[in-house]
Point group: D2
Chain length 364, copies 4
């Protein structure tokens, strides 16, 4: 399968940046879960992130659900989300039909699809395709919430500015879900935005790191081979455009420690087994241990910049210079955060459905 992911709960994405519509099919969600259209619209709005550090493209991103919902609840059959494209200024993309943009998928799409791809605005490789994922993810996030499982992502670093890490995880998650620019520390938002604006003023762009916590997820879920929780999460996370690194718990930093420092000691309290530290990010042997799942995602700088860049003209095969015009984000890290939440929620719903059965998330 290509543009579909999951075993029991699955999502299929379709659409092109400047095509007629984009969207998603979400299948396998338990029947009887309430659809909160306001929440979906809110998540779409967080992804759109209209403002001066985001693209000037105006898209309402109104989600139309054409199947799988009846009387305000999931039916158990595929839920289809359709988002019509509206503000598609295809005139901006003339030269980009043949001059491949560095850092973008233009060249690889050209090789893969032999020139038949819809190149306008990045086509199917556009970050815009994540809108369908966010719509589907909104249903998954609400499905997890029925079992008390919450998820939140903050911008751990951007343009050299760092946020504080998670402290009280359930409280931090609650705070993140209420705000537009997802940072935890005081004054961090202003500094990051200033740094992003500085890059924008230079005709340049920045990237950053996202940190995600999942709270309340049960122990004992995942497989030793090959569907470890790390494997299935990283699989979907690395599908998100611009993601180039994923780590769990202390991740790469663990490689600097000794075993006596990195091992999380177990203790028993109130009849539950917990760990004193959580260096492993809630996952041991690929299987959840009941502690919060923690992971970090590296998002590379947005490749569309206004500086001249060297590239190749695919029509002539000659070296040339590219000057990108149009509407582009100096940063996408603040928009990617809701995409990461959505992707993770979809995978975790799938894992729970595989382990406990298709209807467990809707059971009282």
């Amino acid at each position: 399968m290509k543009n579909s992911f999951g075993s029991s709960v699955t999502v299929t994405l379709f659409g092109e940046s400047h095509g007629a519509a984009i969207g998603a099919v979400l299948d396998g969600i338990a029947p009887g879960i309430e659809i909160d259209e306001d929440f979906i619209a809110g998540q779409m709005s967080l992804r759109r992130a209209v403002g001066k550090i985001s693209t000037a493209r105006q898209e309402e991103d109104k989600v139309r659900i054409v199947s799988g919902v009846f009387n305000g609840r999931t039916t158990g059959t595929p839920i289809t989300f359709i988002i019509e494209n509206q503000d598609t200024r295809s005139r901006d993309y003339g030269e980009l039909a043949y001059k491949v943009r560095p850092g973008h998928a233009d060249y690889t799409a050209n090789v893969k699809y032999h020139g038949f791809q819809d190149f306008r605005g990045g086509g199917h490789f556009s970050g815009r395709i994540t809108a369908g994922l966010v719509a589907a993810g909104a249903v998954a996030i609400k499905a997890l919430a029925t079992k008390g499982i919450t998820i939140g992502t903050h911008i751990l670093s951007c343009a050299g500015i760092n946020d504080r890490g998670f402290e009280n995880i359930p409280e931090d998650i609650a705070r993140l879900n209420g705000i537009e620019f997802a940072v935890l520390g005081d004054g961090v938002k202003e500094k990051m935005i200033a740094a992003i604006e500085s890059a924008r003023d230079d005709g340049d762009s920045v990237g950053g790191r996202l940190e995600t916590a999942v709270y309340g997820f049960p122990a004992g879920v995942g497989e030793p081979w090959f569907d470890t929780i790390e494997s299935v999460l990283s699989h979907i996370l690395f599908s998100i455009p611009a993601v180039k690194g994923v780590e769990f718990g202390e991740g790469f930093a663990l490689t600097e420690l000794r075993g006596s420092q990195s091992n999380d000691a177990f203790y028993s309290e109130d009849g539950e087994v917990r760990t004193k530290t959580n260096n492993c990010g809630g996952i041991l042997g690929g299987i959840t241990d009941g502690m919060p799942i923690i992971f970090r995602t590296a998002v590379k700088p947005t490749p569309s910049i206004y500086k001249d860049q060297q590239t190749v003209d695919m029509n002539t095969g000659e070296n040339t210079t590219l000057t990108i015009k149009g509407r582009h984000d100096p940063a996408i890290i603040h928009r990617a955060r809701v995409v990461v939440d959505s992707a993770a929620a979809l995978v975790l719903c799938d894992q729970l459905a595989l382990r406990y059965g298709t209807d467990w998330l809707a059971e009282k």
Copy 2:
């Protein structure tokens, strides 16, 4: 599917550390590829890495192929590798049946399998299960080689000692494949081994980072969603015990750069499109661009250490202290390297078979 991975070329792993046998089934490899039993034995030997910084467990790891090979070549049907366990001192594991080891899967396996798991030596969670993956991977590595695709992994860092990065990639790969302790820089091996021995002498352990290069892989392979090359590689890499981070190209370091620094400029030379830098690790939009595929893997310190650790007695639910005896590695990074090569080779064979057809790797 659980202990199987891949779509067209697939691998299934089975076995427990102290069970009768371990092994793998490799399916979907093109018919007519020569089986090089010496190469398989060599790879097994690199994984076993007998020596004073490795476990004292004596296993011959003799691979018996019971199906899928006829007259010295692959038939196209499933190839089954069986490795009998020999040196299984189960007497070492008495207390470990109920005192869960920090950093290990003992606790999560207990929750997942309700106590029915084979706990001896980590059972199905043991690093020993990678022996089957290495046997299967040896066939995959040779299959890639028929098309001039080579792969090599070195220990980029271990216990605070760094190796140099890749320079001339095909030459560096060739060098790595000929040596037991996979480092590139002069004098690095001795320093790393000294650091590992120092940890061992403290009853402790260390981790490290592996860096892998794939050379000669064609452009245009992979999918935008959800089977990006990063997704499928990370999926299998995160299945390898102790892996807690994966990054492609410059990975997490990209988050500190601006777009003008991170974008890889394209240029044309001799009718081929290349990039001047390779920050993206040979993958753009999830699809290979023809440059070397580069990724790094974080391996946490071996969790079995000889220092006392706090844990829980699963029989009584009480807090207790654990003292691990038996035979354990102070480091596995030098052994994990061949596992990473094997895992990557299997996934890349699968991607090539999906793109070009089941028999492409064997076509002249």
Copy 3:
């Protein structure tokens, strides 16, 4: 996966009979294949089969392609077909919300979805959902045609009237694709329609058998286990509502023969190996032998009849009598034929893409 099928070429179906829209996502079709919108419309029309032996429901079944097509050709990314529902007289279905119809999925859907299913008009179980399959299948049929592979289905029997079998297969296929009521023999159409009308006049319904031939399909495609060509074809055929039997070649009749009668003798002619008879339906050991693929599909009588039937009121749990009103087909066999062609074409495209690579169908 649930409402998705295929490995390299996949189709996902969504929608409910009386929901907002139905449709399909077709993924994995090679880039560069021409989209023939007239052919799609023609296939939709054959499925709709407006006339006095079909439902009086008036649906234009206009297919809107919102992704995956650019400049009239496939791009290689998911193709999404949306068909808006228009003539949805939900008022007809009041009593059917709780009185489950014999022969329908009303009861099993109620159990499976705990009463949350969209019961109107059969919801996701309606034959109407095949419209998305036919739209996707039309692209698959055209993709096969680029390699000279053709497919055709005729009504072998209906209401006790038999059609003649295939004789000159390529000619018979060509004939079938040009006609609305798919029979091969002279005068058969009139007899079958009369028999269907007779059932309709009795407030009853009929079923029938379809026979399908695929011509020009290459030898050597399929797997011994578990994806035999019979397995993958039957998998999708048994998904079509009302199908209760599938047989290949002489099928059940083979069980009455001896081996000396059923074996197809090989012979060589013009450098090609062929069989003198084709009792095996072009498939030996699960793999195509280059002869035409032949299969037959049993379609049960339409369950919606106007006679009173005994059933259970799901609200009260009491036995009751059901009288179905509304608009229903006395037969669907003449409409199912294009659904079978579509389903088979999708599976065969998938098999070819798996064997020869994703782009083979578009290669010159």
Copy 4:
């Protein structure tokens, strides 16, 4: 995936008729289920069916379980069954290396695997490969039994002799599981064996139809698209060598009825909804309705016969005559019965695990 089947409970088959060993990997079975080695051996014996109407090949078919079982119970990790081949008289197969046998997979294997296949005794296409399926199926049958679900198959017809159909299903199933030659009616066994012997004496072979009943399976399992219960059962059934037809309930005979005859009327009794007839074979809309699942399988005559047959010499491309020697069955229908039970049990375990979770079958 090729030689693997299933989503949550999966089976992988490997081996060749005259290779070193054959076997299976069974993954995803709930932890804690008792392994009954005597039952496994009994099932192997039923498949082997040593006697004068079966092959003279002497194979002990001793099953060695090398993983996934600990203290006599399933652990939840892959269970590997290995059966060493012993009586491999490869000398019998000289001419068969290049003269392809009519009705066998010799020719299609040759095309698919470009001549690299292990041709000895049919290699991976041999009926012998079903031994691994039967071993795995024995565990699945016992797993179903923990929930009171039973399964049984009888020879409905063979060589023109008919058995009676199912009457009291649970009693009939119990009777079938105790006997070697699976028929229900009095005196049928003797007649069938006489007919088989008559064919054997003519150097010929016969086929037959199997009828299977599953009792106690819960309602509400299966999917509307594409994993209907018919779809997943037929998928695995059509993988069994020699199966050319599958029908559910009244199957092809339904096509001769009217809707008023074929619809199964619902009624309520003791708080349960049942149907008065079971023409649909316990499946409506692809989903189980709680009535017994009934299906029939067409098994073609054994292709290995002693009469001269016309074929092609693959070395020269010339037409030639083939005379088969060696050891062959005049009928396999009496052996195939346990293979069908096994295949069905594996698929049904998978469906239950998907619906109710991985561990449901082992829950009290």
